[in-house]
Subunit: 403 residues, 4 copies
């Protein structure tokens, strides 16, 4: 199935290039990715990054003047799908979370100095960053509940608090930290700010890479627990206005969710491809293959349908966001967030079942996604919260007051 309607001339040229690169250059690294540390893979990945740069495919989301491809969101979404077919795709093209979101924030809200110091090397891929918002003690879905504080003392902010799921902090050179700066504000949504914190600042304490689904990971491929203990940075490190933390977080999360969704569709397509290959290769009786069985056929058809539905939903949302702006598509973004995450989980699960015992091993990439994308229904807002957000918006139009 295709999405002709969204297929621009530029995409017709670059998509096959990218697809080919991913298949030829990155799939072969997956076994290594699965069985070794990320750090040990970095030299090889650096080579691939150079190849991407040479091919003119670097940072597809960035403007051309910043060294990127200057794609529209609808175009980038389709590139992102291709990259999502392997866990290292976005990294190699320098459009990986959390850096991509940090680039957007710095691009929109950074001062000239911040851009010089933090954004430029990020865009060139010279360093990595992280985003430090989630706290272990509080539900991320409720922004009022945040304990980390940044107290102004003369020309500094002194940060104290406890964060976790600060993805890719291991080896990152700076963090963007959400902290309460204005506790006295009556509107709780204007209490927090974003602050740039170099990770070598005293008081930035990397407690551990959290073991997630059996793996602590390392370097880019990890999620850290961080403590901030009297961590002092100059006030110039404030990103955007004081108290604008939640506004900026919203700005960051909107496109971020679209990016996740398109990446997930890439995962779906890869899992779908593996499922089909297995269905035609696995003989269950002489001359009879898994793909001849009606149950397997039903899974394939249902998966094809739901992946296509997911893709059209995401592309249409990206299209609307381009035309009408982010504020106009908040409901749509929440909708695709939970919709696509569930398609993802279902497709991966079916692909594993079709593989039988092989499916739960690390001899294919499926089990990696099975365990590490279980979070898709949780991170950036759990399904239940997004559904409630969508429904309350709809019911408000019918006259219901929120409770």
């Amino acid at each position: 199935m295709q999405t002709h309607l969204f297929n621009t001339q530029r995409l017709k040229e670059i998509l096959p290039q990218i697809r080919n690169f991913v298949k030829e250059e990155l799939y072969p690294l997956e076994a290594q990715f699965l069985h070794n540390s990320f750090r040990s893979l970095e030299p090889l990945l650096a080579e691939k990054r150079n190849a991407v740069k040479k091919a003119g495919l670097w940072a597809p989301h960035l403007p051309e003047k910043d060294g990127g491809m200057g794609l529209t969101l609808v175009e980038f979404a389709q590139v992102s799908e291709e990259l999502g077919r392997t866990p290292i795709g976005h990294y190699v093209f320098n459009c990986q979370a959390p850096d991509i979101g940090n680039m957007e924030l710095l691009h929109k809200f950074g001062s000239a100095e911040q851009k010089e110091k933090f954004l430029n090397p990020l865009m060139k891929g010279e360093l990595r960053s992280c985003f430090s918002m989630t706290e272990p003690g509080f539900a991320g879905s409720n922004p009022v509940m945040m304990s980390t504080t940044a107290v102004r003392e003369e020309n500094s902010y002194v940060i104290n608090g406890h964060k976790w799921f600060t993805s890719s902090a291991d080896g990152a050179r700076f963090a963007i930290v959400m902290a309460v700066t204005n506790l006295e504000q009556p509107n709780p949504y204007t209490r927090a700010s974003m602050i740039l914190v170099p990770t070598d600042t005293p008081g930035f304490i990397h407690v551990r890479n959290i073991r997630i689904m059996g793996e602590a990971g390392d370097s880019y491929n990890s999620h850290a627990e961080i403590k901030y203990e009297n961590c002092r940075v100059p006030i110039e490190n404030l990103l955007g206005p004081e108290g604008a933390g939640f506004k900026l977080a919203q700005e960051r999360l909107g496109p971020g969710r679209i990016h996740h969704c398109m990446r997930w569709i890439g995962i779906c397509e890869r899992a779908f491809d593996l499922m089909c290959k297995r269905a035609v290769a696995r003989e269950i009786a002489p001359g009879e293959f898994l793909g001849n069985k009606q149950t397997i056929q039903a899974w394939i058809a249902e998966s094809r349908a739901s992946i296509q539905a997911a893709r059209l939903m995401v592309l249409h949302t990206a299209y609307q966001m381009e035309v009408e702006g982010q504020a106009a598509v908040r409901e749509e973004i929440s909708t695709i967030k939970f919709f696509v995450a569930n398609v993802l989980q279902t497709v991966i699960d079916r692909a594993i079942q079709v593989h039988g015992a092989l499916g739960i091993t690390d001899d294919t990439i499926l089990a990696y996604w099975y365990r590490h994308e279980r979070g898709a229904r949780i991170y950036d807002g759990p399904d239940e919260v997004h559904k409630a957000v969508v429904a309350r918006k709809i019911l408000k139009n019918y006259g219901l007051e929120s409770k």
Copy 2:
């Protein structure tokens, strides 16, 4: 949610008109439609048909030269959604199944005489027709299995056979009948032909309007069991070439399934609207409404997501069909057939549950659709067959031989 991308200038003008007409003129007839015979409603419906003609909205699917609106398929799909919001919408705009499919067949394959005699009055809404294919003894999904025969005797075909689910045969002036004319053909797909049979032909025996979900219905709103006993028509009544029955049936069913899908989305939207209205109106404790409950919110959000997914799938398929032709979208048509039918059933079910006891009564339109659209997962091919068709097409590309 909207589908801006598919919204043409013409639609911006006519959709609000049609929506308004349906709401103001047709919703008020629904109680009568539910509680009385269709025949008793026909005079009123005739008035509404005239109003539609006057408003220039008649037969949106037909070319302007034939008295229609000349919409593209993508445009008509969106009109069809509006009409689908009430069970009498398509009828009043003269684009109801099975007549719409018969118009297409006659338009494409009818001789000049057939057009004059059968098509023209159909387009004007002067008479109704039916399509007689399904047989009680055989699985409709397997075209090889058909028992009705049309034997050529001199200048006539003599038809013998047993059909059912010949929708709207009660009161129809002619039927298009599928019958085996060329049993000796080695390719079973070239054995049957389509033949035009006026319903007053001797040997056309209307056995009964089948009781479906408790209601036999009448007139347009019915599904008949028909026997053909030495039913003789002139050979000029052959529609298209001899042996082309299945080819023509495919031609008819492709767009037919798109029409069903868009109509179903209209039903979904109406059910969704009723669900939301109920959610904000039903107080379950002082000051607490159904719409405040998280389960109801989840149903609303999930319904919104799946309806939007369904709509985008259908519109995109219609778009592709316009651009690339019907043959190119067979997989897509099978996909939307089962996908949308299941969205439909789920949304109706949830809307009923939100209504509580009221939902199972005929005091709303929901229970009508609950019972009469249970067939959506069966008619024009059951889910299971469409899924197998899609999967086998996909797996063929992976090298699997069909069994």
Copy 3:
């Protein structure tokens, strides 16, 4: 599959008898039941009732001294399953809702006079009764919200209010009416009472048999809307103490839900049987039957599993209720209520799908249950309420306060 563990000696004798009677004597009446009024069937049903009495199978739930079989609840549950295989089973054996619940109430709480006047003829099957609790304006799940009042004036109660879903009111000789008698009570659960109201009392107004899923029904097979307009009955007609309405309702609903559940399992088994018969009879290609297809096989296996699960859940609950009393199994009763209702809906839906077009006609009994048991997830408390009840009970043990 069987449930040997619950199979008493008495059951080994009577179950085959009852199964045979239902099959030989009642199945053949179903076509008539579907296509004609209930009243027209009553003479035939009266004959069958006599046959049941003669066979010593009358009123299996009643003590032997009252003319019944004196079965335990676990035994009756299994009889009830057999009777549930046809929509007229319980009626013919005089253990049909709502009369069975009314018998229980009168048996436990009726005065000697009330028993003489109301209970005895009910047990003999000489008249029918109804239970008038649900109101159109208020959520049945919240007992505080009830508008019908019974005001004491000297030696009478004067009842005013509006009820619906008063099942079988058409032709019933008396109603048990829930009405607020003690509005001033601070505890809202002690405000209502149950009052016996002969249906020929002035002010008892049968507004209509509500059209449910296309059918208003009649006589026993109907659900009425009732208005009470200054409906005056003597205070002797109070059933149980004043203010005990909800307590009695609880007493009535507990076993009532077990009865529904076992009846539903009977429906499941019948639908399952029809599904299997169809699966082996429907040829979809020469020599290939529906039952050879893996999807159909999966439905059959999953249905068998979930029906057996449902049965064991219900029998175990009945067993616990016998041993420990009704108060001990409230959580279990809520659990089986939603669990079995959902098994029921799924099994019926699959059976219809396996029947294809035939499944939505009234040529089998399936479509009747499809439409009339959609209510199973709503009546006697919607799924959502029962789930919340169960969860709150569980979470209370973990220290959560109810909200």
Copy 4:
């Protein structure tokens, strides 16, 4: 919820003891189990095993004369649930797969010498064993397809072949190997035999512990790939008669599936307990807890219902197996296999979702089961095969021939 019906006097005494032991002695070891090698935990586990022996709770499935508790299958099933609440429970009580199945085989079919040499030390917990049947190249569900051969040469069998998912082979002292000994047999089910192979036999090659869901594991907690290269054992090592391999495998798998099911129910109960604890502890807004939300409540109620259904299904099957023998409950065993495995996956998934980000970390035990029990729907026969087995058995009674 409880299952009083199956609660014997003996269970009333020992279940609380065991529950307490598991909670007090084994839960505290889980963090270590998750984060370190199994081998490093073995000294501690050996202490716990001694404590179990002293408490008289050793090997609950074995006859008392063999040092066990002599429980019935129904009793052991309930013990097994308690042990299943932690991944190390069965191991500590010496009733862990695959050893328990091997004990049963040796007990029933072993020669006196085999019992002396292999069974006795196994029962005492002095050594471990493994079961080597599954092959990477062939679908385990089709016994005809097996490539490993054991060729008789004088007084030896010479085994060649390739196996994987030979659980716990790492550190095991012997394997029971399925190999084709009688290829010429027309009945494919009589071609294979079981042979006892000490793991220090030359030609028994431990290729690797397969990485499953990111973890290769070690010692007892691993699944090996094994090659047999001219692996020669004396013919006395034949277990049971030659050609009886599949018969013995059936004997082994029947109770084995019941054991798995009860263990899974233990996992369900633990996950359920963690879910409830989280629901009452996680505050999402001041004074509002997760457990107050209707969606969470629904998950809790649905989980409670389905766990109880699963338990009753398994206990009833165990009961039937005791009374009627294994051959009588094949359909039931296949039924519980797929039914309980799906309950398990759903309950774990919900428990994780309720935990949010914490749920995917290894800070609780949930993520371990999420990844390592994904196999439950695959090992010992995938769902699809068990469903087909059940359905074909049922449909055979309706007259369908198998295809």
